[in-house]
C-alpha cells in the first residue's frame, strides 16, 4: 500500500504526527514518538531516493487531480537526496535532544518543542517534495513558524530578539517570494513548476518575468542567508537551544539552497537566469564575499556557537559558488556540499551542545582543558572541524575537491585559489577552539574539575554523524553518484532557450 504513496509519505507522516504529539503531552512519550516518526520518514525517503534514482522522477497528484489543476508532488534525484539528509539529521537530532533540552528548555514546554520540531520537519520535507510554486510558499511558512518557535524556546532572553529579527526578515523573504510567484502566475496562468517552465518563455514581453526572478532570488537569498541578507542567522543560531541550532544549521538553509537551485534550473532555466540575466556573476561575487567576510567574522568571535554560525554563512557561500559556476560539476559540488555540510555542522553543533550540557557555557574560555575532560566530545568536534577545513579523508575534502575541479574546468584559477584560501580562515577559527580545548589547561575552579563526558544519548548521534563524515569522505561513490545524477538530471531538464556558443 505504501509503495504507491511513497512520494507523499515524507510530508504526510510528520504532518499528521505533529498534532498527535501535542495530544500525547508527556515529555518522554513525545520524545520517543517524535524520534520514531522521524526515523520512519527517513526510511521512506531512503526508499524514495532509490526509486528516484532508478526511475528518474516520480509524480504524485494530491487529491487525485492531475497537474496543473491539482497540486503535484514531484521527486527526482536532487530533492530525494536533500530530503534524505534532512530526515536523517532530524532523526539524529531528536535522539540527541532528549538530554540537551532537559538542560536548556523548561520541562513544561518539551511536548511543544517536539511538536514544533515535527512541524518544522514536515515543512522542510514539503518544500523539498512539492512541485507547485504556491504550495512551496505554504510549506515554507509552516517550517518558518515552527523555526521561530524553536528558536525562542531557549532560556536566554536574547533568543527572543533573535527570533523576532528572524521572523521579520523571514516574513519579508516569504512575501518577496509570494510577489515573484504572483508575477510568474500572472504571465503564465499556472503554478505547477514544470508547467511554469514550459510556459514561462512563451509569454510575450519578459519585463514582468525579470522582476519575478529578481524578487524570488532576493526572497530565497534572505531565507538561505546569502551574504548581505544574512543578518538574522548568527544571532538566531547563537541563542537558540543547541538541539535546535544543530537541526537548523544542517537543514533549514540547505533546503533554501535547494529552492534556489529548483527555481533557477527547473523553472526559469539555467540559460535564462545565467546567460541572459547575468545572475551567475552576481551570485559568484556575493558567494566569495560571504566566504571571506564571514570566515573572518568567525575568527573574531568569542562565543563558539557564533563562530560556527558565521562559518555556516561562509559555507553557504561555497554552495552558492558551486551553483554559480553553471556546470554539471559545479552544481554537483554544490549539492554534495549541501549533504556534507549537514553532516559536519550537525556534528559540530551537537558537540558544542554537549559542552553546554556539561559546562553551562559555550564561550571559548569554557573549552579550556576539555580535551581531557570530555575526550569523546572534543574528538568529535576535532574530526568535524577538520572536515570543515577540508582535510583529506573527510567529507569536507570531497566538497572542496569537486568545487576546485569545477573551477579549474572553466579555467577559473583565481576562484580555485580563493576556495583554498577560504579554508585557511577555517583553520584559524576551528584552530582557536581546538587550541583552547587541548593546549590550555582548565581553570582551577572546583566546578570545572567536575566536568564529565557527555551522556551516551548525546554521544551516539554525534558520533554517528562523525563516522558518516569519515565514511562518506572515503567511500565517496554513493554521494557523488547521487549528486552527479541529480545534477545531470537538473541540467538536462533545465529549459534551454537557445544553444549558447
Amino acid at each position: 500500500m505504501f509503495e504507491q504513496h511513497l512520494a507523499a509519505l515524507p510530508i504526510i507522516i510528520p504532518l499528521i504526527a505533529a498534532p498527535i504529539a501535542l495530544i500525547l503531552g508527556r515529555s518522554l512519550l513525545t520524545w520517543g514518538f517524535a524520534t520514531l516518526i522521524s526515523a520512519w520518514a527517513c526510511y521512506a525517503s531512503w526508499h524514495l531516493l532509490l526509486a528516484a534514482l532508478s526511475e528518474g522522477s516520480l509524480s504524485y497528484a494530491m487529491g487525485g487531480w492531475p497537474p496543473p489543476w491539482g497540486i503535484e508532488m514531484r521527486v527526482d534525484a536532487a530533492n530525494a537526496f536533500v530530503l534524505l539528509a534532512v530526515t536523517a539529521v532530524s532523526t539524529l537530532v531528536l535522539v540527541y535532544s532528549k538530554n540537551s533540552i532537559e538542560k536548556e528548555i523548561d520541562s513544561a514546554q518539551h511536548p511543544l518543542f517536539y511538536t514544533a520540531h515535527l512541524l518544522c520537519l514536515a515543512g522542510l520535507s514539503g518544500i523539498l517534495v512539492t512541485g507547485d510554486a504556491f504550495n512551496l510558499f505554504v510549506f515554507l511558512e509552516i517550517s518558518s513558524l515552527a523555526t521561530y518557535t524553536l528558536v525562542s524556546l531557549a532560556r536566554d532572553r536574547r533568543c527572543l530578539t533573535a527570533a523576532f529579527r528572524y521572523l521579520v526578515m523571514g516574513t519579508i523573504g516569504a512575501t518577496f517570494i509570494l510577489i515573484g510567484v504572483g508575477m510568474l502566475y500572472m504571465k503564465t496562468g499556472t503554478l505547477n513548476m514544470l508547467d511554469l517552465a514550459e510556459r514561462i518563455h512563451l509569454a510575450d514581453g519578459n519585463r514582468t518575468i525579470n522582476t519575478g526572478l529578481a524578487f524570488i532570488m532576493v526572497g530565497v537569498s534572505i531565507k538561505l542567508a546569502l551574504f548581505p541578507l544574512h543578518a538574522w542567522l548568527p544571532p538566531a543560531y547563537t541563542h537558540a537551544p543547541s538541539a535546535v541550532t544543530a537541526f537548523l544549521a544542517s537543514t533549514a538553509t540547505k533546503v533554501a539552497v535547494y529552492v534556489m537551485i529548483r527555481f533557477i534550473f527547473t523553472i526559469f532555466g539555467a540559460d535564462y537566469v545565467f546567460r541572459e540575466m547575468g545572475m551567475d556573476l552576481i551570485l559568484m561575487v556575493l558567494a566569495i564575499v560571504a566566504i571571506f567576510k564571514c570566515s573572518y567574522m568567525a575568527t573574531a568571535q568569542s562565543n563558539v556557537k557564533t563562530v560556527l554560525a558565521y562559518s555556516s554563512v561562509a559555507q553557504i557561500g561555497y554552495m552558492v559558488l558551486g551553483v554559480s559556476l553553471v556546470s554539471v560539476t559545479g552544481l554537483m559540488a554544490g549539492l554534495i556540499h549541501i549533504f556534507n555540510h549537514a553532516l559536519m555542522k550537525g556534528a559540530l553543533f551537537m558537540a558544542v551542545g554537549a559542552v553546554f550540557y556539561r559546562v553551562g557555557s559555550v564561550d571559548i574560555k569554557a573549552f579550556r582543558g576539555l580535551g581531557k575532560q570530555m575526550p569523546l566530545t572534543m574528538a568529535a568536534f576535532t574530526i568535524a572541524g577538520l572536515s570543515i577545513i577540508g582535510v583529506p579523508l573527510t567529507v569536507g575534502f570531497v566538497s572542496k575537491w569537486y568545487l576546485v575541479t569545477a573551477a579549474l574546468e572553466q579555467q577559473h584559477w583565481i576562484l580555485a585559489f580563493l576556495v583554498l584560501a577560504g579554508s585557511l580562515l577555517a583553520v584559524i577559527y576551528i584552530g582557536r577552539v581546538l587550541e583552547a580545548a587541548y593546549f590550555q589547561s582548565a581553570s582551577d575552579d572546583a566546578s570545572a574539575a567536575e566536568v564529565k563526558e557527555a551522556p551516551w544519548l548525546m554521544l551516539i548521534p554525534m558520533w554517528s554523524l562523525v563516522i558518516a563524515n569519515i565514511y562518506f569522505g572515503i567511500e565517496t561513490s554513493i554521494t557523488t553518484e547521487a549528486a552527479s545524477s541529480a545534477s545531470e538530471w537538473l541540467f538536462q531538464n533545465s529549459k534551454v532557450l537557445e544553444v549558447s556558443p
Partner: protein
Amino acid sequence: MSFIIDYYNYWIVVFLMMTGFYIVISANNLVKKIVGLNIFQTSVFMLYITMGKVSGGTAPIVAEGVTLYSNPLPHVLILTAIVVGVATTAVGLSLIVRIKRAYGTVEENEFQNEDDAI
C-alpha cells in the same frame, strides 16, 4: 490614456506595498514593524486579487444568467496567504510581549544597546 486605465491599479498597489515595506524596515518600535508587515502583506494580496479580476465579470459563485466569472484561483491562494499572515502576526506579537517583559522596552535600538552592554 488607456495605458493608465490598464495599469493604475497595479501602480497604486505597488505604492501601498512600498509604504508597508518602508514601515517595516524603518520603524524602531516592534509593534509598528508588525503593523507595517501586515500592510505590506495585505497590499501583496491586493496584487493577486487585481490580476484575478475580469472586467464585467462577477464573483465566482454560480448564479443564474451569469456567464463571465472572475478567476477563482487567486482568491484561493490569497485566502491561504491571509491565514498565514495572521499566524505570523500572532507569533510576532507574542514575541513582542515576551521581549517587553525581558528587556522592559520594545524599541529596537534600546534592547540592542542592552545586549551589547552584556
